[in-house]
Point group: C2
Chain length 369, copies 2
DNA sequence: TTGTAAGCGTTATCAA
DNA sequence: TTGATAACGCTTACAA
């Protein structure tokens, strides 16, 4: 493109070559109206010729804008194995790059401070705005950012969510439609394989699950509601526990597809058939979901689109639009594949009548035909 | 921590409060030796009290360092679904944060220029260094960064790799041990389900595959070497093609675990059993690999550790160490699980003698017992 | 050991 | 329509 990349030219140099002042050149390049069309063209041409590009740091210092938004990784062990996360990133990057914005990823940093990573971004003014995910019911990050006056948008709500921007899936609906689907397949003992209770998405999905059950006239059996360490191994163990109950579930609503994978393995290792003896429904619809065996029935949310939208919202908030305007809840959709099936196919309850939550009167160990 | 977060204090303000010059305060805070211990303590205490943190932009402008390294996402469609990528990021972040470095993620940007994203980072001096991945045999990014004088490190070598830092798995070895493993299980018709030829890792792994076959006295059957679009769907189709050959393979070496997932689905949909009729070996050992059905035998490389090491190397190069010192090739390890098994178990060749590459004399369609 | 002052490369204010 | 000049907040020669 330009002659010599190693010999950078700055605004002053460019102005000198053109016989103009830095001011004029700067304005010509930034599309100000008070520059003659002729001058502008001349400047633009020369800039291109000499490969001039403004120094981002200098521009940031003067303008007070960093043209950067931040994302803080959660704890370092296994949280972000989930492909949904890469999709979220890719989606954000798509729109950010278009607007010449950078996305910086940092981690929480050492030390117990869960706010550490956020403090750094805020205090050192490294970013113009922040994206949060995996919100908790009472999320201290939200309080912190609100008080610091840092623009942000969260992927997920919280119970303290007031005047901030967020994008969220309708988690309650997600839990509801998954459970409804299973009820429609005549399942009566349906388990909920969840994440820790503090997470807002877990809370809401569980609520949807409970609502569906109640509407069907069924009680909630606490034994069927589990909380995992939110990892695949955790879900494997949790699912195994469920399947070894005196009255095991014939269906499991899983908090996400990764958890569903763990559950599938658990079902198999108990000698049972997925989609027959035990139905499984996931959440997210990550790429591997369609390729699993059996292909996973799941509740889909488009994380790449979510990433794009989150970035757009944040950029708008940074630009000064009131944050509370941007509060979106997206409807998830059920993607039916093959990991669920009618309850009567299950060998767990050959008589076809699993006991209700409160009346365990038909003991029958798991894994028997 | 500090009194009023909305009312930032800068170096000048802090100096004023302390009755010192900016210089002294700056040096005290940056650990210079020519500041009296007493002054330093006083400064540090006051700084903490007032919640002073240096403005990152200003520091960057003066120092000429951005304290940021860059990573450019490949094309936007499905490349980074792979969990290995999230691991790489997490690993890099771990060490970067410790040193107060940021990681910025950008995309290639619109327009056909494959160097677009890199140009932006380099020209606008947004980063001190760059990490590349998925190198190609003749990688123009390497040439570009070399010429631009931008420090970088690549995850993967290239054929033009001279004086730059890289970390790579021993890909040839990886292809070799996977193939050896299958040969040891008496397989004779072993396919290679690869990525496009331009990729260096594909090139080397294929070489390892070929070497193992040759050492075993077997010819390479071009029909058994496929190139996919490097996505799961692509590998599904490619694997299906392989299985429908007149003389289908009894084993498939896959370019990565995601491809292996596609292959597994293909095997099943042809009515065959994974690990019996057709053995599958993956690469990477992503988290879901152990949870798949059957658990995937794969060649493991620790991408999180790789991420950490890449960051360390890059930081060293940025600090001025000669790049060519940092050229590491890591040995991969075979993780045996259940997706591979002895050739005699395959119903594809009941007589136990699959034809060699050049002499297809025993036609026997796939999927027959 | 501490302070003065000159940058770093922009953008923005105010005259001309 | 254009041009001096002053910020922006920090680091670092160079003096004291």
């Amino acid at each position: 493109m330009h002659s010599n990349p190693s010999q950078r030219i700055d605004l002053k140099g460019l102005a000198q070559v053109l016989g103009l002042s830095m001011t004029t050149v700067s304005r010509a390049l930034n599309g100000y109206s008070d520059v003659s069309e002729k001058t502008r063209r001349r400047v633009e041409k020369q800039a291109r010729l000499l490969g001039y590009t403004p120094n981002a740091q200098a521009r940031r210092l003067t303008s007070g804008m960093t043209e950067t938004i931040g994302f803080v990784l959660g704890d370092v062990s296994g949280y972000y194995d989930d492909p949904y996360f890469a999709q979220l990133l890719a989606g954000m990057s798509e729109v950010l790059t278009r607007l010449n914005y950078d996305l910086v990823i940092s981690t929480r940093g050492a030390g117990g401070d869960p706010l550490g990573g956020y403090r750094r971004l805020v205090d050192e003014r490294r970013v113009d705005g922040i994206v949060l995910d995996r919100t908790r019911r009472d999320d201290e990050r939200i309080a912190f950012l609100l008080e610091a006056g840092m623009p942000f948008v969260s992927f997920g709500r919280s119970e303290v969510s007031g005047d901030h921007a967020f994008l969220d899936a309708d988690c309650e609906e997600a839990g509801y439609i998954a459970t409804r689907r299973l009820l429609g397949l005549s399942h009566r003992r349906i388990a909920f394989l969840g994440a820790p209770r503090g997470y807002m998405f877990n809370h809401l999905r569980l609520r949807g699950y409970e609502r569906a059950l109640n509407e069907a006239g069924l009680d909630i059996d606490p034994q069927l509601v589990t909380v995992t360490a939110y990892e695949e191994e955790g879900s494997f163990h949790a699912a195994t526990g469920l399947l070894r109950l005196d009255h095991p579930p014939t269906a499991i609503v899983c908090i996400d597809d990764m958890a569903a994978m763990g559950a599938i393995v658990a079902v198999r290792s108990e000698g049972l058939e997925v989609g027959e003896d035990v139905s499984i429904i996931g959440y997210n619809d990550i790429a591997p979901a369609a390729l699993m065996d059996p292909p996973l029935t799941t509740v889909r949310i488009d994380s790449r689109a979510a990433g794009r939208r989150l970035a757009e919202m944040l950029l708008a908030v940074i630009a000064g639009r009131p944050a509370s305007v941007f509060q979106e809840v997206w409807a998830p959709t059920l993607v039916v594949r093959s990991s669920d099936g009618p309850a009567f196919a299950s060998r767990l309850y050959p008589t076809g009548t699993p006991p209700l939550a409160t009346t365990p009167d038909q003991p029958l160990p798991a894994g028997e035909a």
